[in-house]
Symmetry: C2
Subunit: 157 residues, 2 copies
């Protein structure tokens, strides 16, 4: 397995153009583009996205959002955690450990991590050390939440 | 376009087995199965799922969850609304208006509807009269929210 460098992505038109190669492109990316066009955010401002490049090409990405402990409904003791979403590696670059490198980066930040696993990706998340939560209709609303517990952290009951 | 009857699905082992044919099968369905096995819920109890049958085969489904007005962050005036998820029609049955019938059923309940549109399904939702929300990182956390406004309802700002 290669070593892949994970970098924080700058918000600029080039990055947003590269995002169009990913399947999970939607309201969030369109809103980032509008903000740039209207100078609401700075070009090259810090984004919630992290990625892996192959040469000049963005081939994998994810978004990380730090949720404050007071909103934590997943972990015991309640604490700040990272919500991870839009983890995706482009076809042709899958199976090389790029997704794994992105997840390892998220785990290395020292906080619990929660994600909404996409359809039939349970095996991938299990390999990364994530577990399915005990489903709660009100909290989870059709999500497929998988969580990673650092040492000393357990599921909130 | 055929007329498709939308029925509320009973929770039983047969329904849960049919759910395994759908791509969006995950923590929610597994938890329903466990609850049945441990007699926590009644066989044939009412589920949050609705579906369309072709003969005896479940070929389309969705889940509807009524969110209380006090939690409404999408609509003005704030009110009860339906969160719609896991809308899916099996391959071979797509393009026949089954997805449309399910969405029309949700709209017919008289409340606003919100969904997290799956990757690249924007065109489908636009055809159903849904609009993308103004993206809000804290509220939407990587979701791709599309909403349907009944008359007199607008976006919450």
């Amino acid at each position: 397995m290669d070593k892949h460098e994970v970098v924080r992505l700058n918000i600029n038109f080039k990055t947003l153009e590269e995002f169009e190669n990913f399947r999970e492109y939607g309201v969030q990316e369109l809103s980032m583009k509008e903000d740039l066009e209207h100078n609401i955010v700075e070009n090259d401002g810090e984004s919630p996205f992290y990625g892996v490049y192959f040469g000049n090409k963005l081939v994998g990405r994810m978004s990380l959002y730090r949720v404050e402990g007071k909103y934590d409904k997943y972990f015991d003791p309640p604490q700040d955690y990272y919500e991870l979403w839009k983890l995706e590696v482009l076809p042709g670059f899958q199976g090389k450990g790029i997704g794994h490198a992105l997840v390892e980066f998220a785990k290395s930040l020292g906080l619990p991590v929660k994600t909404n696993a996409r359809q039939r990706s349970d095996d991938f998340w299990a390999k990364q050390g994530f577990e399915a939560v005990t489903y709660d209709t009100v909290r989870d609303r059709g999500e497929n939440p998988f969580v990673w517990f650092p040492q000393g952290v357990t599921e909130q009951k």
